[in-house]
Amino acid sequence: MGPVGAHSALEPAGVQARHSLQLFDAYLYVAVLVFFLVIAALGFALGKRSDPAHEKREPPIEAKRGKRGVVAWATLATVFTLIGLLIASVSTGHSMALMPSAEPVEVEVVGHKWWWEFRYPVGGVATRFSTAYELHVPVGRPVQLKLMALDVIHSFWVPSLSGKLDAIPGKHRTLLLRADRAGSYEGQCAEFCGAEHANMRFLVVAESPAKFAAWRDHQLGSPAPPTDALRQRGLEVFMSSRCSSCHAIGGTDAFGTVGPNLTHVASRRRLAMGTLENTPEHLSSWISDPQTAKPGVQMPSTPLPPEDRRALLAYLEGLQ
């Protein structure tokens, strides 16, 4: 695994998650108070000696009417507490909807079985790029995520940054969030989406605006064509095997869109739906046998002669 980011609704690093946590805390205090009040009342009810007026009579007897006032007050208190909680919920929801959203970074987020694609539509067609598993955002700037799904329903969730929102085929949903602290934050698909739902992870990297801009400029470019023989052979292997029918690499003739775009694969921290650290060993075993690592994944095994595999790895490792 790569560096572990925060992955908890209890450790907010963004404005939306903070709103959720504040409201949760308020509800939690009320809940704990109500729990102990009710249990205490039950305890008293059980421990209370029956009063003399009742003791004289053999059970069964009529329930005491004397507690009517108490029950009425308890009910009334319940009603007002709940109305208070309702108001708190609606006003928090309102603040979340009104999060400042001037000049947002726009990213299209596409849920696939079973990986997340992030498309950065910077300007026109020539300045778009697509990446996977790793969403980069600048700290302190609003990010507008346009959620889409092409196969089944997925749900985009980064607990430390924001609540979840579903990506639904045939619908467009927009999630507004902002990272207030630099760092990396774990995300995971939250809607059951089939065999590998459990491993549909991703990472949100929040970095300074300057670093973000540098990352984006780098992603826009294509890696230089391989110069040494080994990596040239690797490119040949990539183009001639089934790799290129599903994956795209900028600057080559590989345009596949079924799997993640590999233009800058070596610059990513993780592989394999965001579950493996990006090391040559992991990449090698992932390519040769993805089904063992993640049963059900759509990538087929690609058996290659050792020298071809070495060349392919060298080529992919060079895609910084």
Binding site: G163, G170, E186, A190, G194
Partner: protein
């Protein structure tokens, strides 16, 4: 009210009770005794509880540590889907309905349930549905798209094969069964109350069964439409849920949760009803706030249909609409709160004996309360979007369903064990089972709140070590085995008591309601003499009379509200046809998975069976006009 009410009927030779064959498979399959059918429902549902529980243990083993290899995703997805489907459709609803079939007629003083053959048909449909689901699971065709079967995942493109069809047809089985029972419980409560037991005097458990039966009538059509549309999408190529062809993926969720949310209340309202009954007999007090508790049941039933969208907050619905559903979801805490307050007021100063049944009520109090409070949290959109579809929600609804339905059920089974079996349930093992179940439950599910908040989504077959979820998952798994041990003790206790428990007399707890007036276990329907009651707590207060002169195969029909005698009707006769019709219906439902021709072929056969079932007989109707009955009864 007359102490004795004597309807006069014209004797007719064909009306004489025919000697019934008591033994033999044929008689067993033809029974019309609600006690027999009710016991079968309860027993079968407990078998499915064990099966569903074993699946849960498998899941807990797989999740006990990161990257465990008990199962792969393919198996795990079948297991968690079957676990949810079993617990909801094959355990919780049938066991509550089975208790209704057994106890509602007894508690309203009726000789038998209305439409016993329909109920028996419902029982067999339910059994065949359950066998069908588990056969599919064992042949690696278990449904694997979740008990909610969201489209497009459950659609033809993403779930090829027959797995989701098994799920959709299981729904058909359970719909049929639940509707059959609900109709019968409603009619029993409305038309077969014994004279004097007006609608404002029926026990709270009967109210709860009545209210949930109405909920079934309103909730089931939504899922019938939904599962039919899904089956059509899958089997004949319609596109109700296919966005590419103008269908809508969210339509499924609306229809499913319009049923699915009330389903939760259908399961735990009878549980709350049992809590009222146990508190009543434990405290020997009349219930504080009978009317508020009844109104709370009705209010819960109505509100339950107005908050399905809180299952869909993460789908990104408009804010204003979501607020409405937040309000409704929060408000439903009020009627439940009222019930809590009334129970505490009833208990106040009554010094009840804490035996097994009352211990389960105390377990219910603590557990269900937590489930309700986390439910209020889930109603708030900003919190919901964080914890939705995580283990926080898994914890929440197990607190609600195990706390609100299973604990009261175990208490209720202890309470009614003498009436069901004629033996007393052992106290020592009973208390031990309660302690183990309670401890195991909280050990299993409390840590899951924390796991959810720390980012663990539901329905995942594995997780990575770096998530830090391993420790609490291990605790949860240990808890699950403690819980299972507690259940085992409960069943061992039941088996031992059944074999050698103390014999129970008619009213071992000194209860107030009419089920304690019949022997333990009750006489056959034909041998019971309906009572004439004079209060809301007939065995405690007021005069008791008897309705005399009813022939063994006759039932008294009374008016809905005041339970005044209305007329006398012929009882249903034993018949094998409900079983045969159920076999044919099951055949049709299963055949439809493989060929659309299953429907017309099956429908034809069923039509023939129904004709045989309802063929005219030479029985003379035991009519007696309303006027005549009233005259004889001295009712103006």
């Amino acid at each position: 009210m007359n102490p004795a009410f004597e309807p006069t009927v014209t004797a007719h030779p064909a009306n004489e009770a025919k000697p019934e064959r008591d033994a033999g498979l044929y008689a067993w399959l033809s029974t019309i005794e609600h006690t027999a059918i009710g016991r079968r429902f309860i027993g079968t549902a407990l078998v499915f509880l064990v099966l569903g529980g074993l699946l849960a243990l498998l899941m807990r083993l797989q999740l006990a540590r990161p990257l465990a290899h008990v199962m792969g995703p393919d198996r795990y997805n079948q297991v968690f889907t079957t676990h949810g489907t079993t617990m909801m459709f094959l355990f919780a609803v049938p066991v509550m309905q089975g208790l209704g079939v057994y106890f509602v007629p007894l508690m309203v003083g009726a000789r038998n349930i209305a439409f016993p053959r329909l109920v028996h048909f419902g029982y067999w449909i339910y059994v065949f549905g359950g066998i069908f689901l588990f056969t599919a699971l064992l042949s690696n065709t278990g449904p694997d798209a979740g008990w909610f079967s969201y489209v497009p995942l459950a659609g033809p493109e993403h779930s090829p094969g027959k797995r989701v069809d098994v799920w959709a047809q299981l729904i058909t089985f359970t719909e049929l069964s639940a509707l059959s029972v609900s109709v019968s419980i409603i009619v029993t409560t409305f038309k077969h109350k014994t004279p004097g037991l007006s609608l404002d005097r029926i026990p709270i458990f009967v109210w709860a069964s009545l209210v949930t039966s109405f909920m079934v009538l309103f909730a089931m059509p939504a899922i019938i439409v939904a599962s039919s549309c899904l089956a059509l999408d899958r089997l004949v190529g319609t596109h109700f849920f296919n966005p590419a062809e103008g269908g809508d993926a969210l339509l499924w969720q609306h229809m499913f949760w319009f049923f699915g949310h009330p389903e939760v209340y259908i399961i735990f309202l009878p549980g709350l009803g049992m809590v009222s009954e146990i508190i009543l007999t434990a405290t020997k007090r009349t219930l504080f706030g009978y009317v508020p508790i009844v109104l709370a049941n009705v209010a819960t039933a109505v509100l339950a249909f107005g908050l399905w969208v809180h299952h869909m907050f993460a789908t990104g619905l408009p804010q204003l609409g979501a607020s409405f559903f937040t309000g409704a979801s929060i408000l439903i805490a009020i009627p439940t709160g009222v019930q809590f307050f009334c129970w505490i007021a009833t208990i106040w100063g009554s010094r009840p004996k804490v035996d097994t049944q009352f211990a389960y009520v105390l377990a219910f109090f603590a557990t269900f309360l937590i489930g309700g409070l986390t439910g209020v949290m889930l109603a708030a959109v900003p919190i919901n979007v964080q914890v939705h579809d995580t283990f926080f929600v898994v914890a929440h609804f197990h607190y609600v369903l195990i706390g609100g339905a299973v604990f009261p059920l175990l208490g209720g089974l202890t309470h009614w064990f003498p009436k069901l079996t004629g033996r007393m349930l052992g106290e020592r093992l009973g208390l031990l089972s309660c302690a183990l179940v309670f401890t195991g439950f909280h050990l299993t599910f409390f840590p899951q709140h924390l796991l959810g908040l720390r980012g663990m989504p539901r329905r995942i077959y594995t997780y990575l070590p770096d998530t830090g979820w391993g420790f609490w998952n291990l605790v949860s798994t240990v808890g699950a085995f403690v819980l299972a041990l507690g259940m085992l003790v409960f069943f061992v206790n039941a088996a031992r008591s059944l074999a050698s428990g103390a014999r129970a007399h008619a009213n071992p707890w000194g209860g107030d309601s009419l089920e304690w007036a019949v022997s333990s276990p009750p006489e056959r329907a034909a041998e019971r003499t309906p009572l004439l009651v004079g209060s809301r707590y007939p065995l405690w207060f007021g005069e008791l009379g008897q309705v005399v002169g009813l022939k063994p195969d006759e039932h008294l029909v009374t008016r809905v509200v005041d339970a005044e005698p209305d007329h006398v009707m012929n009882a249903a006769l034993p018949s094998i046809m409900p079983f045969i019709t159920a076999v044919l219906t099951a055949g049709m439902i299963v055949a439809c998975i493989f060929t659309p021709w299953g429907l017309p072929a099956g429908a034809t056969l069923i039509a023939v069976a129904l004709f045989v079932w309802f063929r005219p007989t030479d029985r003379e109707p035991a009519f007696d006009t309303r006027a005549r009955v009233r005259e004889e009864a001295g009712v103006a």
